[in-house]
Structures are given as C-alpha cells and as structure tokens.
C-alpha cells in the first residue's frame, strides 16, 4: 500500500511541476515572447535561426526576446493551434494545414499573400534515400512499383511529406501515361502496395528506415535525406528521381493570438527576417532550398537543381488538391483501400 501512495504522490508532484512549467508563458526578459509552432524536420533550422533573429532584434530595438519552438506532425500541430495552443506564428509543411487554422477563424484570409513567394521562405522537394550500394537499383519512381522493393513512407492522411510525395508520384505518372487517369491511379496504387511500414509522420518514417533498418527506399523530404546523409555518410545514398514536386512549406502569423498577445509586429518581423540573406544562408545550410535565387546558387553543390519540379499550382492549389487526393474517398483512398 505504502508503495502505491508513494507512486501517487510522485505522479501528483510530476503533474504539478509540468503544469507550472506550462503556466510560465509570456515571460521573456523584456516581456516579449513568441511561440513558433512548426512541423517535424525544422527543429535544427529554427534552433539556429532563432538565435540569429534574437541577436538582430536586440541590436535593432535593444530588447531581449524569447522564442519558444514546438515541433510535431504538420497536421497535428495545426489541430493543436485550433484547439487553443497559443501560437503566434505557424511554420507548417503545407498551405492546407494553415488554411485549416484560417478556417477556424484564427488567421486572416489572404495570409498566403502576406509574405513573398506564397508565404514560403524556403522550399524543399521529395527525394529517395536508399541504403549504400542501392542493391535494388532504384533510380526513379517507376522502380518503386517493382516486385520485391520495400518502400517506407509516412501516411498521407497525417503527414505533410507524404502528401507532397503522392502529388510527385501523380505528376510522374501523368507524364508517363499521358494523362490516362486509370493508369495513373494504378501506378500510385502499386507504389503504395509496396509500402512496408506507414508511420504517421516523416520523422517516424526516418526512424523506421534508419534506426530499425526497414525497407529498401525511404520517400523523404530532401532536407531530411540530406541531414541523414550528413549523419551517416557511409550508409546511405540520395537518389533524385527524374521529376518531383516543389514543396513550399508555408508560414503565417496567427493573427488572433498575436493581436491578443501584442506580438503582431514582432511576429511579422520574425517571418520577414527569414527572407534576408543571412537567414537564407542558414536555410541553405540546414538543407532547405533558399527562395533567393542567388543564394540557392551558392548551395548548388548541395541540391540537385536539374530535377524537373512540378508545383502545387499544377494541381489547382492545396485546397483543391487536398479534396481531390486526401479527403475521405479521394484518389488516395481509391487506390489504397481495397
């Protein structure tokens, strides 16, 4: 019995400390604090960027600010903000997740025009990560439908990366079969028939492929693949398919929260500063493609710039693409659910 009581007391103490930890919001040294709710793979990018921005802001205004980061699957992060997570800025994997927050009334419409390049200060694309030697000789999307190729990719119903991947596959199949939709669906279905493990998010899929050694090929964010390669240079190779998609992770100010917290100006500055040369170089260094063409060129050895990229506009924008492909009964359900 005593043990039980001790356990209870311990858990109560834990609960209290975690509550107070959450309760300590909005207490930067000068009372200025912004919360950036982001998706999974941007951890390292924002860790570096936040330091640089803090310094810049201190030089400019003399004020110390605090920046709080939060990371998780893009869709679930959007939901947490809808449910009351007090984010001042959102930096998610795709525009559709920000639109969901807009529809909940927290972001003013027209946010996508607020910052340059569809409010997307950095781009990425979808590539393959294979084990060193590439024993299954995977070179392009059509190699993924071959028998005996085990594919790892996250669930398009919950992962931003997987959404971009489905569209990239669709674009490839469209060119291959000359717009014959039945054949395109068959192709997409065959790729997903080869999927061995479907994690709910991109980081989970990377863990499955890298740590647990599952599958022959991981369909992945270019930035995640490059980072994995940096960590394990002798174990993996990146294969860039002949065509892919220009992924535009979007950023937005959560107007409702920012107005309430009095951080609207700071939030705007925080996101605008992402477009400066200094920030664009941090972006390039963290394996995201800078929007600034000149700086992108400085990193031309990192990225395969010759790959042919389609864009979300080819699918009629994210809202239409989401309804067509990922809503219940959409194209993805049609090919995957049998």
């Amino acid at each position: 019995m005593k043990k039980r009581i001790l356990l209870l007391a311990l858990s109560a103490a834990l609960a209290v400390t975690s509550l107070t930890a959450c309760g300590g919001k909005k207490k930067g040294s000068d009372g200025l604090k912004i919360v950036n709710v982001s998706y999974d793979p941007t951890r390292e990018l924002y860790a570096e960027y936040n330091e640089v921005f803090k310094e810049y802001y201190k030089d400019k205004t003399g004020k110390d600010i605090e920046i709080v980061q939060s990371h998780g699957g893009s869709g679930s992060q959007a939901r947490s903000v809808i449910e009351g997570n007090d984010a001042d800025v959102l930096t998610l994997a795709l525009a559709h997740d920000i639109t969901a927050v807009e529809e909940a009334g927290l972001i003013n419409s027209g946010w996508i025009e607020e910052f340059e390049g569809n409010s997307s200060p950095y781009k990425s694309t979808i590539v393959f990560l294979v084990r060193k030697g590439n024993s299954k000789n995977i070179q392009d999307w059509d190699d993924l439908i071959k028998d005996g190729v085990d594919v790892i990719t996250p669930d398009p119903k919950s992962s931003g990366a997987a959404d971009w991947a489905v569209l990239a596959i669709w674009n490839y199949a469209k060119n291959l079969y000359n717009n014959d939709e039945a054949k395109m669906k068959e192709f997409l279905g065959k790729v997903y028939d080869n999927v061995l493990v479907m994690d709910s998010g991109a980081r989970g899929a990377t863990t499955t492929f890298v740590e647990n050694g599952q599958g022959d090929v991981l369909i992945d964010w270019e930035n995640e693949a490059l980072m994995t390669l940096q960590e394990y240079p002798d174990e993996y190779e990146i294969i860039t398919p002949s065509s892919s998609i220009l992924a535009e992770p979007s950023v937005a100010i959560v107007d409702e929260n920012a107005d309430k917290n009095g951080t609207q100006e700071l939030a705007k500055e925080y996101l605008e500063y992402l477009y400066t040369d200094e920030a664009q170089r941090i972006i390039g260094k963290n394996f995201y493609r800078p929007t600034n063409e000149a700086i992108l060129n400085e990193y031309k050895d990192t990225f395969n710039l010759s790959v042919e990229l389609c864009s979300i506009d080819d699918f009629g924008g994210w809202d239409k693409a989401y309804d067509d492909f990922f809503a219940d009964g959409g194209i993805f359900d049609q090919v995957y659910q049998k």
């Binding site: 969901a100 709910s200 599952q214 659910q337």
Partner: protein, 282 residues
C-alpha cells in the same frame, strides 16, 4: 454506505456529503462530461453518414484488428499472469521483491517509449527480432507486433488482480486436496482455479479494455499498414484528427463505437464474473 443513502440516517462515519460531492464532481469533470462530448460530436453526423463512415472497409478492418489482437493478448496475459502471480505468492526466491515491483513497470513507463523500444527489439534488425526471423517469424510490423505490445501493457492488470486472491487462499487447501488423493492437475482445476476465476475475469477484462484502446505502444510496432491489416482503431481516430481536414465528427463517431464495444465486453465479463463468484461462494 447504502444505508446512508436510503434511510437518510446519520451515518456514524462523518463526511458522507462532502466525499460524495467530491466523487460526483470528479466523475463529471473527468469522465462523464468528456464522454458526453464524444457523443455530442459524433451526433453531428447524420445517421446515414455515421453508418457509412463506420462501415468503410478500412474502419471495419481496424476494428477487427484491434478486437482480435487485444483478445489474443488478454488470453496470453491470463496464462502468464496466473503463472507470474503464482510464483510471486507461493515461492520465496532471491529478487522476489524486485520482480514484484517490475510487474508494475508497464504502468509507469510512457507507452510511446515502450512502443519504440519494443519495435527496436522485435524488428528484424533488433536483438530478439533477428532470432525470430531465423525461424520464420516476423514480429514487428505485423499483427504479432501489436499483440506483443498489448501483452506488455496488459500483464500488470492480470497479475495484480490475481495476487490478492492467491494470497488469501491458504496452501492448506492444496495440502488437503493432495491428501484426499487429487492429482496436481485436479487440484489446480478443482481447488485453485475456481477461487481465482472471478479475479482472472476481472484481469482479463481490464487487459482487454486497455488493449483495445491502446495507442502509444502499438502505433510504432504495428507498421500501420492498411494492406497488412495492421491499422488499429486508435490509429484511425488519430489519423482523422491529424489530417489536414481535422475531422472531429468522424473521429468521435469511431471512438463512440469503440466505447460501446468496450462497454459491452466489460458488461459481459462482469456478468460472467458475477456468476463465477456466486458459484464459488455458495
């Protein structure tokens, strides 16, 4: 207690009003209101939408997987739970206390940590998974993986349900049975088992209920492949919530069905338990 409710007589033990008030408030805040909101959300769907959603093949498949795997896991837990409880109660050996404490670890460990660790161990590159693969068993990323995770999280329920009953059962009963000429098996079947049966049913029910709704430890090891039928119901619910369209109604509808299934199962088990305890007490 019952007397106090019905007769409005002043109970000798003070504080009934206060404790009852706290109980009702806690039950409402923590259990009843959240459950009612699940109901409210799912009723936002029209009946035809509701039926259409929960009869979609992938939803049905997930229910099948969850129920089947948690049933098997609960059965496995019953067998090993009895053995574990038996060892802990009837024998003395070094490290017994430690082993007794370890039983509760699955309660304390965050389920996600358990899930990730189990996956690493049981995948074909892991320490246990590699050995299993040699004899042709694929543990992680299959239904077997789901069962392993559910056995892990369910075992304490069975052990902790049976232990006190075994402790109360004097070993003289077994001695008597032995002296009356019963074989060991007959002793177990006729003397011990009827005593622990009600507790075993409780443990089974708790382990089953826990397994059916389990999320954290299962999603990593299951692989979540629709094709292989390794998506569990809790995964489908999270998928609905995490998708770009944030489908609360759909998630609530599936959760409601899960709730009803768990409720019915626990209800049946309670009836069985009632019958079983009547038999042993009479």
């Amino acid at each position: 207690m019952k007397m106090a409710v019905f007769k409005r007589q002043k109970s000798i033990i003070p504080g009934f009003g206060l404790t009852m008030g706290i109980t009702v408030a806690m039950l409402s805040l923590i259990i009843l209101i959240p459950l009612a909101s699940v109901l409210a959300y799912s009723f936002k769907l029209s009946p035809s939408e509701f039926v259409e959603l929960i009869t979609r093949p992938y939803v049905l498949q997930a229910f099948k997987t969850s129920i089947l795997c948690s049933l098997i896991a609960a059965l496995i837990n019953c067998v090993f739970g009895v053995i574990l409880a038996w060892i802990l109660v009837r024998y003395n050996f070094p490290g017994k206390r430690l082993m007794d404490g370890m039983i509760e670890l699955p309660f304390a460990l965050p389920t996600a940590v358990a899930g990730i660790t189990l996956t690493k161990m049981y995948s074909n590159t892991g320490f246990i998974g590699r050995a299993l693969e040699k004899i042709g068993i694929k543990a992680a990323y299959s239904k077997m993986g789901i069962i392993i995770a559910m056995v892990f999280i369910g075992i304490p329920f069975v052990v902790r349900a049976i232990q006190p009953v075994l402790e109360k059962l004097p070993s003289t009963c077994e001695d008597a049975a032995y002296m009356l000429g019963a074989s060991r098996f007959v002793t177990f079947r006729k003397v011990i088992f009827p005593e622990i049966r009600p507790a075993l049913l409780t443990g089974f029910g708790l382990a089953l209920a826990r397994g059916i709704g389990e999320y954290g430890s299962v999603i990593y090891i299951s692989g979540n492949s629709q094709k292989n039928g390794t998506q569990v119901v809790s995964y489908i619910i999270m998928q609905k919530l995490n998708s770009g369209s944030v489908d609360y109604e759909g998630a609530a509808a599936i959760a409601l069905i899960l709730l009803i299934i768990s409720f019915v199962m626990l209800f049946i088990i309670n009836i069985l338990q009632h019958i079983a305890s009547k038999r042993t007490n009479s």
